[in-house]
C-alpha cells in the first residue's frame, strides 16, 4: 500500500468517525463535562469557604484533573467509545463487504482504522487536557502551578494511556465484531475487573499484567510521589505489558478481519 493510499484510507476512516455524531458528542461530554464539574465545584467551595477549601486550580488540582482524564474513568471511556466505533462501524453498517470487494487487502482495511481512531481520540483528549490546564492556572489563586516539564509529561501520559486503550479497543471490537458486546466487555474490564484484580494482594506480581497498572507506571503523579493505588513494577515490565496488550489485540483483530465472512 502506497503512502498516498494509506493517507486517503485513514482520512476516510477518520471521516466516518468524526461524522458519527452520537459517538463524538458522548466522547466530548465524557472528556469535558466531568472536568467542568470538578473545577466548578471546587471553585464554588473555595469562594464560599476559603479557609476550609483550597483554590480549585494549582498543581494539586492538576493532579486530580490528570487522574480523571488519563487514569481513572473518563479518558479511558472516551478511548473505548472511539476505538470500538472504529473497529465495528463498517461491519455494523454492512459496508465492510463493499470495501472487501474493491480488492484491497483486509489487513490494510484493518490497519487504517487504528490511526484514524487514535487521531480522533487524541483530539478529544487534547480538548479535555486543555481544560485541565485552563482550570489549573485560572483557579490557582496564588498556589504553585505545574511547570512546563510536568505539563508535557502530563500530556504525554494522557495520550499514552488513552491511546493504548483506544488501540486495544479497535483490536478487541474487530475481534468480537459487535459494538455493544465490545463496549460492555471493555468497560467492565477497565472499570470493574482491573481495580478488583489489582487489589487482590494474594495474586502478587501476576497483577502486573493488568493494563491500567502498567500504564499508571508512566503517570507524572507517580514520579511526583503520588502512588495512589497503583502497583509497583519496573519500567521494563510496564513496557512489556503494554506492548503485549497492543500486539495481542491488534493481532486478534487483524486475524478476525482477515478471516471473517464479509
Amino acid at each position: 500500500m502506497s503512502t498516498a493510499i494509506a493517507w486517503e484510507m485513514t482520512s476516510a476512516d477518520f471521516l466516518k468517525l468524526r461524522k458519527r455524531r452520537g459517538t463524538l458528542i458522548w466522547a466530548l461530554v465524557l472528556a469535558i463535562l466531568p472536568l467542568v464539574i470538578f473545577f466548578a465545584v471546587n471553585a464554588i467551595q473555595h469562594a464560599s469557604d476559603p479557609a476550609s477549601h483550597g483554590p480549585a486550580g494549582g498543581t494539586a488540582n492538576f493532579h486530580d484533573g490528570l487522574r480523571l482524564l488519563g487514569g481513572v474513568f473518563f479518558g479511558p471511556l472516551v478511548a473505548i467509545l472511539i476505538g470500538v466505533e472504529a473497529g465495528t462501524n463498517d461491519v455494523a453498517a454492512g459496508v465492510f463487504r463493499d470495501l472487501v470487494v474493491t480488492g484491497r487487502s483486509r489487513l490494510e482495511l484493518f490497519a487504517t482504522r487504528v490511526p484514524a481512531a487514535l487521531a480522533l481520540c487524541w483530539l478529544v483528549i487534547t480538548s479535555g487536557y486543555a481544560l485541565v490546564l485552563l482550570g489549573t492556572f485560572v483557579f490557582a489563586d496564588g498556589t504553585p502551578t505545574p511547570d512546563a516539564s510536568l505539563i508535557l509529561n502530563g500530556y504525554a501520559f494522557v495520550l499514552l494511556a488513552t491511546g493504548v486503550l483506544c488501540v486495544v479497543a479497535v483490536g478487541f471490537s474487530s475481534l468480537v465484531a459487535s459494538k455493544p458486546a465490545a463496549i460492555i466487555a471493555l468497560i467492565a474490564w477497565q472499570i470493574v475487573a482491573s481495580p478488583l484484580i489489582a487489589s487482590i494482594e494474594s495474586l502478587g506480581s501476576s497483577r502486573n499484567i493488568v493494563l491500567s497498572q502498567a500504564l499508571a507506571h508512566f503517570s507524572p503523579l507517580r514520579l511526583a510521589g503520588d502512588h495512589g493505588t497503583e502497583l509497583a513494577m519496573s519500567g521494563s515490565t510496564a513496557v512489556i505489558v503494554i506492548v503485549a496488550w497492543l500486539a495481542i489485540f491488534l493481532a486478534l483483530g487483524a486475524w478476525r478481519t482477515c478471516t471473517m465472512d464479509a
Binding site: A4, I5, L15, K16, T102, R104, S105
Partner: protein
Amino acid sequence: MPLAALDPTPPQPTLEGLAIETRGLTKRFGARIALDGVDLRVPRGSAFGFLGPNGAGKTTMIRTLLGLTRASAGSMQLLGYPVPTERAKALTRVGAIVEEPRFHPYLTGRENLRIVAAVRSPETFQRIEPALARVGLAERAGEKVKSYSMGMRQRLGVARCLLADPLLLILDEPTNGLDPGGIQEFREMIRTMVEQEGRTVFISSHLLDEVEKTCDAAAIVDRGKVITQGPIAELAEGGAHHELIIAVDDPRRALEVLAGLEQVHEAGEDDGALRVVLVDGPETAAAINAALVTAGIGVSRLEPVRHSLEQRFLEVTSRLDAAVEEVPA
C-alpha cells in the same frame, strides 16, 4: 437515469475470453451444500443472467466469486485472473452489489463514495461526480443516505460500482426497490454498458422477465447447481419442439389432414384451436397452411408458439422438484 459519459477515456475491454469462469465450484456450510460443483462460463461483453428461485445459491455464488466467503472446492477466474490467488488484480476492474446495497446512513451519498474511492485508488476520486450524474443522483448527493429511498440506494450502489470503471459488474437482484420507470431506466443503462462500452454485466435475479429483457445469456440455477446455461433464446427453446397454434373452421378434418403431413410430429385440439408440434422449425408453417387450404379448410389464425424463459425455468426447476420427490428420504 441520465446516461452521461462516465469517463473521457472509456475502458478498453477485451472481448475475447471469459469474464467469469468456474469449474466445480463448491461451497458447503456444514452439511449443507450451497454450491454443488458449479461450472459457469460468462462471455465478456455480454449481460448475463444468473437465474434461480430464492435460496438457489445465487448470492452464495456471488459472495464466493468476490472472495467474501471461501470456496470449499473448485476453481474460478475473474477477467482471466485466478481467484483467490490474484483476487486483488481481478477486483480492480470489478464493481459489485451484493444483496442490498448498504451504506453508512449518517454520511451523504457523496461521502459514502469518497470512502470507497479512498480504498480503491487516488484517481478514483475523479469518477465520483460522473458516476453520481450517471445514476441521476448528482442533485441529492449531498444528502445523508438515511433519507434515501430504496431505489436511490440502488442507484448509489451502481454509482459505487462505477467508481472501479468496471470491466465486469456483478449485481445481486439489482432492480429490488425500483419502480417501473426506474427498472426501465436501469435496463437501458445495463444495455448501454454492454453494447456501447463493452462491459460485462452479471445479474443475479429471480425475476425471469427482467433477465429475459435485459440479458443476452443466462444460467438457470437451483439447489446450488447450474441446470442449464446459454443464450436466452436457446435457453427458452430448450429441447422443445417448435409448435404452432392454428384456428380452422373444421378442426376434425384439419386433424386428419395434419396427420398425413411429414412436417407434423403431433397435433391435437387445444382450447378451441389446434396445437401442432412440428418436426422441424417454424419455416414449415407455410407448407402446413398450404396443405390445409388446399384441402378446403379455412384457416383464420396461424401463429408460432413462443416459449418464454419462464416456461423453461419452471420446466427445469419442476423437473428437479420431481426428481427430489422420487428419491426416498
